[in-house]
Symmetry: C2
Subunit: 238 residues, 2 copies
């Protein structure tokens, strides 16, 4: 079974939702047969790469919150994160463009290190004092290396804005096609969709249901085409 | 869209079928959004690892063919392969256990090199004079390196019979669940199944149909759960 999770690194609910999903997955009896794929979704794709802003400033400027509302929102998110055992800095975090982070996550996917890198990017963005957005490429390279990637490969991706750009865009088009206008968005075997940060029990139920109802593909093409099986390979007439 | 292809390296129809599928995929307008995954299927799982036998001998001994029938079968397969532009040695090939090859293909998957390694294993088994089954681990390590894998990682997998063994078994259980008793077996987005080596046109049609009818996941869980979208992140009440 495959679970695709659309998220953005700058999305606090994705950080919390991933932790809840991971708890449900850890308790799922068939967890060894579940493949988890990160899919890209940018909440703020039009923000220029170098434009970094404190989260609280962004919340008041962009969404018209009062400073008090913005702080209360961050406090609430911090409490939700803490309930899942996650560190969350409710003050002093930065907001920035996440396109490069998604491109790196696609590199990590090709090397089987996507989950590791995603966890490190979340931790860096939500829990560490040092901003994820002002450390330049070398900060990201260090995280990529910590996730098990090659420094040279990560540097090459960051230096070439086209690297994995299509993969990020394809994920985003697919989210739009599936009707997702927010994240996190979880899709199980393309059969069930879970929108938003639901309770652990909802993820557990969705896993169980998708597992039980794994689809049976409809046959296409003629029956009895040449194949090899336990009784040997069909010999073509000629 | 994702296409899973169950095959065995020792399966001539898989070799031919993969080439036909690849032709259909190369002409498919959305090919950049198609992910192809190799799935393991062993035709002869009970054969001990070291037990290598000429293909023609295996055909007469195991399937009760006359020598003439066995040779005619290989000639026919050679003609089908040639029609797809594939080299195929109709005489002198060996048959052996393919478990280690599948384990290596799972290593390759984790490094994004599965398609490369599969092509090299097919070529080595069907087109090269040197047997794929009598060169020991170093022969396989050389192919893994040619596919872009690390020699040490390939050696470590071959030295540990448990490495990726569960992944191979899981693929095989999944094939059984989906009703496949022979290979190649192609599954498109878990929606359509193509059994056997069908004509290129059938693969083209299956790709077009699966693309057109990509499934929409059914929502699970409560609506309006906390999420981040273009209008910001929902603020939890507390």
């Amino acid at each position: 079974m495959r679970v695709e999770i659309w998220s953005d690194i700058a999305c606090p609910w994705c950080y919390v939702g991933k932790a809840r999903f991971d708890k449900a997955l850890a308790a799922f009896p068939h967890r060894d047969r579940v493949e988890v794929v990160h899919r890209s979704f940018e909440l703020d794709p039009d923000r220029p790469k170098g434009e970094v802003e404190p989260v609280l400033t962004m919340l008041t400027r962009k969404y018209g919150m009062s400073e008090e509302q913005a702080r209360a929102g961050e406090d609430g998110l911090g409490a939700q994160a803490a309930a899942e055992g996650l560190a969350y800095r409710t003050r002093g975090r930065d907001h920035g463009n996440t396109f490069d982070l998604h491109r790196l996550l696609h590199l990590a996917k090709e090397h089987g290190r996507q989950d590791e890198l995603l966890a490190l990017l979340y931790r860096a963005n939500f829990a560490e004092e040092r901003s994820l957005f002002t450390g330049g490429d070398e900060r990201l390279v260090a995280l990529a290396v910590e996730a098990g990637l090659d420094a040279g490969a990560a540097r090459a991706v960051l230096a070439d804005p086209d690297a994995y750009a299509d993969a990020v865009r394809a994920d985003e088009r697919e989210a739009a096609r599936l009707g997702a206008n927010g994240v996190p968005f979880f899709v199980l075997d393309r059969t069930y969709g879970v929108s938003g940060t639901q309770p652990v029990g909802v993820f557990a139920q969705a896993l169980a249901r998708a597992w039980e109802e794994r689809p049976s593909p409809e046959p296409v093409g003629r029956a009895g085409a040449e194949a090899c099986g336990p009784d040997g390979c069909a010999v073509p007439r000629h």
